[in-house]
């Protein structure tokens, strides 16, 4: 079942002057079509300004299309009455860990969303505990979030989304500000929620090694989808990725260089294991 569907969607940012006259229009999403199945883990790549955050905001009904339709969990996001349901089914996590935490105690911060839904307190407590457990942060229930590392704060932000029991989680560069361990922990958390709870995950990132872990990669360019496929398919097109101001994981780059220099190996190698197998096989043959 498709849980996110974009049909011919366009979106325009409009700038106005003091008299509310339009001074500038910018079409950030252009006639875009996309469907994402329930339970998919999709990475979204694209250079700065390619439209990734705009796409995320359209999924979450923070903005509505100028034309075309965005459907989330069966709800048209342009219909006023649906907005609340859409936001409940699609949670967002943003880049800056410090801007997302409001309360002075971790448990209260995670409870913030469900409290706003008017849920009973026993149920809220259950949800908060479960959410913190899922991101591996339950023991910080009574802590002040301010003393946590960036990676831990991001996992609290993810727990805040989980406490709403969403079907979809959209993460807009959640690891951009983190150190290597923080990045690893956030990625592990996203993958676990996707695998165990079947939460549809849309991960926007500039880290190619993170995108390699997804089931599918979408590459944005100029408000459109430029590439869409499995990581091995997308990353085997090294030159195309570079033209789009992107990159490929280090292993894939090495794979490409070896192949180009005449080594007889397939393209699209993503992991250390695949590469080692391939190289050992070549050496045996030699």
């Amino acid at each position: 079942m498709e849980i996110i569907k974009f049909e011919n969607v366009s979106y325009e940012y409009i700038r106005t002057d003091e008299q509310q006259r339009i001074t500038q229009r910018f079409e950030a999403i252009k006639q875009l079509n996309l469907s994402i199945e329930k339970g998919e883990f999709v990475a979204v790549l694209g250079h700065n300004g390619s439209g990734k955050s705009t796409l995320a905001k359209l999924i979450n009904a923070l903005i509505q299309p100028k034309s075309g339709t965005v459907t989330v969990n069966g709800f048209d996001t342009s219909v006023e009455e649906n907005i609340y349901k859409v936001r409940k089914s699609a949670g967002m996590v943003f880049q800056n860990p410090d801007n997302q935490i409001i309360a002075s105690v971790v448990g209260e911060d995670v409870a913030f969303g469900p409290e706003n839904l008017g849920i009973k307190s026993a149920e809220i407590l259950r949800r908060v505990r479960e959410a913190l457990e899922s991101v591996g942060m339950l023991k910080y229930f009574d802590y002040s979030p301010h003393n946590l590392s960036g990676g831990q704060k991001q996992r609290i932000a993810i727990a805040g989304v989980l406490a709403m029991e969403p079907d979809i989680i959209v993460l807009d560069e959640p690891t951009a500000m983190l150190d290597p361990l923080g990045r690893r922990d956030v990625l592990k958390t996203v993958m676990k929620l996707n695998a165990e709870k079947n939460i549809t995950s849309v991960l926007i990132t500039h880290f190619m090694d993170e995108a390699a872990l997804a089931q599918r990669i979408i590459v944005m360019e100029g408000g459109k989808i430029a590439m869409d496929g499995k990581p091995a398919e997308v990353f085997s097109q090294v030159e195309k990725m570079r033209e789009l101001r992107l990159d490929v994981p280090q292993i894939t780059e090495l794979n490409y260089m070896l192949k180009k220099s005449g080594v007889n190996m397939p393209l699209g190698i993503l992991t250390v294991k695949e590469m080692t197998d391939e190289l050992c096989r070549l050496k045996l043959r030699a």
């Binding site: 700065n48 951009a176 923080g182 500039h206 280090q250 250390v272």
Partner: protein, 282 residues
């Protein structure tokens, strides 16, 4: 210009309930013209340390020397020191405020009493280095994308023609091409002008590729330092403090375990390519 740090200790909120020892007995030497990397987990003290290099923070004990001179011996010299030591803060885009990109980059120069043509030459030169063409000169900094703002902010520091350039995680949030472009330009600039460059980064891959020497921080201390090879050979130690070795290192390790004996000391894709080719061509 060389930087030397001796027995430096620094506390935030000293003597208060929330006292935090952010730097613990730091000793380091960075030679004139060197390109060094500082890596370390969030909160390890990287930003605190580099703010001591241009006297924005003052040690509680110990000292910082630039070309052998204690920078805190005479506080009246701090303004001059800050002109010579260019510091690009983490998220420098928050510091853009002028009405145009050009004016923003020129901002620091007004205090130097330069002839107008020199100001213009420096501003254009700096914007060129960061890859912002003339189309951007009259734009408001607020109209720029995150990556473009970052470039403008870096240009503002470059225009001051510093003798030491310090960059605190300059590429966080930039797309891969933008990241590479800025880092390559900084590398070239450092070599051409023979200035000392200090790069704080979370990207082990960038550090492995670019720098001459690496300092590793954990919990307010320097726990390891040396050449790229000396530091990244310790992948277990790095992992235990929340870091990692460059991705390619794990391939080389796995290969050697499986009997594919390529040459050691490989930390970049280019070196891995050559090492593997050598084995395959044997």
């Amino acid at each position: 210009m060389s930087i030397e740090v001796k027995g430096l200790n620094f506390f935030y909120n000293k003597g208060q309930v929330f006292e935090k020892k952010a730097l613990d007995d730091i000793n380091m030497f960075i030679a004139d013209g060197e390109f060094v990397g500082i890596i370390g987990h969030t909160g390890s003290g990287k930003s605190t340390l580099i703010q001591h290099f241009n006297a924005l923070l003052t040690p509680d004990s110990g000292a910082v020397y630039l070309n052998g001179n204690d920078i805190n011996a005479d506080k009246t010299k701090h303004a001059e020191i800050r002109r010579k030591i260019g510091l690009v803060f983490q998220y420098p885009e928050h510091q853009l405020f002028e009405i145009s990109v050009y004016k923003d980059v020129a901002f620091g120069l007004q205090f130097l009493n330069l002839p107008p043509q020199d100001v213009d030459r420096r501003v254009r030169g700096a914007l060129k280095v960061v890859g912002l063409s003339e189309d951007y000169f009259e734009k408001s900094p607020f109209e720029l994308s995150g990556g473009e703002k970052r470039r403008a902010a870096i240009a503002g520091v470059l225009a001051m023609e510093p003798e030491i350039l310090i960059l605190d995680e300059p590429t966080a949030g930039l797309d891969p091409k933008g990241r590479d472009e800025i880092l390559e330009q900084i590398k070239i600039l450092g070599e051409e002008l023979k200035i000392t460059v200090v790069l704080v980064s979370h990207s082990m891959e960038d550090v492995a590729r670019l720098v001459d020497k690496v300092f590793v921080m954990a919990d307010s201390k320097i726990v390891l330092h040396g050449s790229v090879g000396e530091v990244f050979a310790n992948s277990e130690l790095l992992e235990s403090i929340g870091l990692a070795a460059p991705q390619i290192t794990y391939l080389m390790k796995e290969l050697s375990q499986r009997g594919f004996s390529a040459k050691g000391g490989v930390y970049t894709v280019n070196d891995a390519f050559r090492a593997i080719k050598d084995v395959l061509d044997e």
